[in-house]
Symmetry: C2
Subunit: 392 residues, 2 copies
C-alpha cells in the first residue's frame, strides 16, 4: 500500500530567455538592500553579473557582493556572509551560480536571522529552518535543483563533514531560470550536472522499497529519459536551447518534492558520495557517476532485479522481452556507457589519485549514527567499503 504524504512547494519560477527581466520587480518586494552570492569569475566573464546589476538598478536596489562561493561551500565562508547581512541590514540574498552558490545563499540567509553567528550551529541543531531572509536564485547550471528545494549542503573542512539543513525558510522565494545562462557551462560540468539530476530521481525514488504511485513512477521514467536524451546533446552542442531547457527544468523537478511523494527511503549513493567529496573535494556529480553503476552491481539480486530491469525497458529502450535479470544487467551497462563514454566522465577513483587508505573511516561516516544506510538495500560499513573498492 502506498504511503501517505504531504506536498507543498511555494517557489515561484520565471523560466525562459526573458526570465531575468522579472528580477527587479520580484526582488524589490523584499527590500532595497541585496546581497549577491556568487563565486569564481565566470559570471563576470560571460556578462551575467552586469546583466543582473543593470536589472536590479531598474528599482534602485543597493548591491553588496559576497564572492566567496567555492564548490562544496564551507561553513567558515558562510559565517562571513552572515556577518555581512547583519552589518549591512541586508533585506534579501540572491544566489547566482550552481548548487554551491544557491546553497551558500540559503545558508547565509538562514544565518542572518539565527541567534548564532556560526553556521555549523544550524547544522548540528537539526531543526528545520523557519526564519531566513528571502532567498532568490539565478541558477547557471542544470544540476542540484537547489533553486526549488528547501535544503542546502554545507561542508566543514575541520571535521571533514558534508551535511546540511533544511526547512521552509530556506526554500527560494523566486527563481529565475534562463537556459541560455547555461550555454557557457563546459562539457565536464554539464555531464556532472546531468548525473546529479538522474541520481536525484534514481537514488531515493525510482529504486526504492516504497510502494510507488503508478503515475509518479511513470513520470520518473520520463524524467530519466529526458536526461538520457538531452544530456549528450548539451555536451555536444552547448548552445542547444531545447537541451539546456529540458535539463534545467528536469533539475528543478528532480528535487522539488513532486516525484518524492510517498517515498520515505534515504539515498544510498548520495550518502556514500558525500564522504568522497568531503574528504577529497571532488565534484559531486562525478562522484555520483563513479559510484552509481558499482552500487547497482553490488545490490543486484533476485529481489532488486525487477526495479533495475524497469529502467532498461522504460528508459534505455531495451526490448521488453528481455528476461528480468538480463535487463537489469543492461541497465548497469547502459548507465556505464552513458556516464563514462557518451558523457566522457572518468570512471575510477584512482583517476583522482584516491586510494583505499580512508575507505573504512568514510564508510563509517556514510552509515552515520545508525551504522547502516537504510536505502533500497540496506548497506553496512562493510558493504560501503566493498562498493568503494569496486570504484578503484
Amino acid at each position: 500500500m502506498m504511503n501517505d504524504f504531504s506536498f507543498q512547494n511555494t517557489t515561484k519560477v520565471h523560466f525562459g530567455k526573458e526570465a531575468l527581466s522579472k528580477l527587479s520587480s520580484e526582488v524589490i518586494k523584499a527590500g532595497h538592500r541585496v546581497l549577491l552570492v556568487y563565486g569564481g569569475s565566470s559570471i563576470k566573464r560571460f556578462g551575467l553579473y552586469d546583466r543582473i546589476i543593470s536589472e536590479l538598478k531598474k528599482e534602485d536596489i543597493e548591491i553588496f557582493d559576497y564572492d566567496l562561493v567555492k564548490p562544496n561551500p564551507r561553513h567558515t565562508d558562510i559565517n562571513i556572509g552572515g556577518r555581512m547581512c547583519r552589518d549591512n541590514q541586508i533585506d534579501a540574498v540572491i544566489g547566482i551560480g550552481g548548487g554551491s552558490a544557491i546553497d551558500s545563499a540559503k545558508a547565509i540567509a538562514a544565518l542572518a536571522k539565527a541567534d548564532t553567528d556560526n553556521c555549523w550551529d544550524l547544522v548540528t541543531a537539526k531543526k528545520p529552518i523557519i526564519d531566513a531572509l528571502p532567498i532568490y536564485a539565478v541558477p547557471t547550471m542544470a544540476s542540484t535543483g537547489s533553486e526549488m528545494d528547501a535544503s542546502c549542503v554545507i561542508s566543514n573542512l575541520e571535521t571533514e563533514e558534508k551535511t546540511g539543513f533544511n526547512g521552509p525558510g530556506v526554500r527560494p522565494t523566486c527563481s529565475f531560470e534562463d537556459p541560455t545562462t547555461t550555454y557557457s557551462v563546459p562539457a565536464y560540468q554539464t555531464a556532472c550536472g546531468a548525473v546529479d539530476i538522474m541520481s536525484h530521481t534514481m537514488d531515493t525514488k525510482y529504486f526504492s522499497r516504497d510502494d510507488k504511485m503508478d503515475m509518479l513512477y511513470r513520470m520518473m521514467d520520463e524524467h530519466l529519459r529526458t536526461v538520457v536524451k538531452w544530456a549528450p546533446v548539451a555536451v555536444r552542442e552547448p548552445e542547444n536551447y531545447d537541451a539546456r531547457a529540458n535539463l534545467m527544468w528536469a533539475a528543478a523537478w528532480a528535487l522539488n518534492s513532486f516525484m518524492t511523494c510517498g517515498v520515505r527511503q534515504l539515498p544510498s549513493v548520495h550518502a556514500m558520495e558525500h564522504e568522497l567529496s568531503a574528504v577529497y573535494d571532488i565534484t559531486h556529480g562525478h562522484g555520483i557517476a563513479v559510484l552509481t553503476p558499482r552500487w547497482m552491481r553490488y545490490i543486484l539480486n533476485e529481489e532488486t532485479a525487477p526495479q533495475l530491469a524497469r529502467m532498461a525497458y522504460e528508459v534505455y529502450d531495451i526490448d521488453r522481452e528481455t528476461p528480468v535479470m538480463e535487463a537489469a544487467e543492461k541497465t548497469i551497462e547502459c548507465t556505464e556507457k552513458l556516464f563514462f563514454e557518451t558523457l566522457g566522465l572518468k570512471s575510477r577513483l584512482s583517476d583522482f589519485n584516491i586510494d583505499d587508505s580512508r575507505f573504512e573511516e568514510m564508510a563509517k561516516n556514510a552509515c552515520g549514527k545508525n551504522g547502516v544506510i537504510y536505502g533500497f538495500v540496506h548497506l553496512t560499513p562493510e558493504d560501503v567499503v566493498n562498493i568503494y573498492r569496486m570504484c578503484l
Copy 2:
C-alpha cells in the same frame, strides 16, 4: 522555440488515508470560525461530514453550514454564502465535495472580501482575485482539480452564462486528499471525472500549436496513460485504493499549472462544453466526453495528424509502425471506445433530449467576443455548430 513561462503553486496538500487528521491543525491557522461549503446529502450519508466535524472540534472550531452547492454552481447561491461570511465573521471556508463544492467555496471566499455583494460583479470585472478568505478543500471526487488550482467556474442561469474568475486569492491554502473518500462515487460520476481529467491535459496542452518542452510532453503522455489505465479499474472496483489514488493525484496535476508550462493556447472542447452545461445543465465531464472524439475527427488533417497519432503510440499502445494518419484515426477510435464502451457513457446529445434548436446561439457564445475559439485549430461559430451536429 518553446515559450517562456512562470510557474508557482502554493497549495499544501495532505494526501492519503490519514489526510483528514491534519484538518484542524491546518484550519486553525486561519481562525476559529469556519464555513463548511457542501451540497446534497452524500457527504452526510457516508459519514464524511461527521468525520470533519469531529476533526474540527479538536481545535474548538465553530462551524457554520452552507449546504446549497449544486452541480454548476449559481451566482445567486454564492451571494448567499458571501452574506453568511460577512454576517458571521467567518475566518475560513472549507469546500467539501466535487468541483462544484470547491469552486463554490472559492467564489464565496472571494465575495466575502470583495467590495460588492454580487458574485457576478467579480466575473464581469475580469480582474485576478488577490484577496479572499483562506480556502481549504476536501475533494470527494477525482475530477476538476480545483483543489490545487487558482480558478473557479460559476453559472448565471438568468443570462445562461457559465464562466468564472481566477487569481492567487482563490488558490486553496491547503487541500486534504483522501482517496478513500471517493470510494462511494458512483461509476457514472467516476467516469465523468476521468474524462474531465484527461481533457485538462488534452484540451490545451497535449494537442496544441505551442512548441512543447520534451520533458513535459512525455509527462503528459504518462498522465493520460494513468487515467486510461485506472479509470476503468475504479469504475469496476470502486474500493480499489490504487485506482482512486492515481485518479485523485492525476486530477490535481492536470490543472495545477505544471503541465501547462509554456502553453498559451485556449481550450476548445471546454469552451464548447461550457455552453452545453450552461444551457442544458448536463454533467460537465459527460459533455466533454460527447464532444471530444467529434472535435478530434473534425480537426483531423495532415497538419494535426502527428499530434493525434502520438496519443495512439504513447497512450493507447498502438504499434509505432502504424502510419500517422491511420494512428490518428486509432486515437479517435480508442477514445470513443474508452468513453462510450469501457466507461459506459452515453455518446450522443440526443440521449439528453438535446436538439439543434439552440446550436447557433451556443456556438456564438462559445466563440466569445473574438468570434473565434483560438485553440489547436481555430474554430468559427460555423465550425462549432458542425461539431455540435456531429454529436446529435
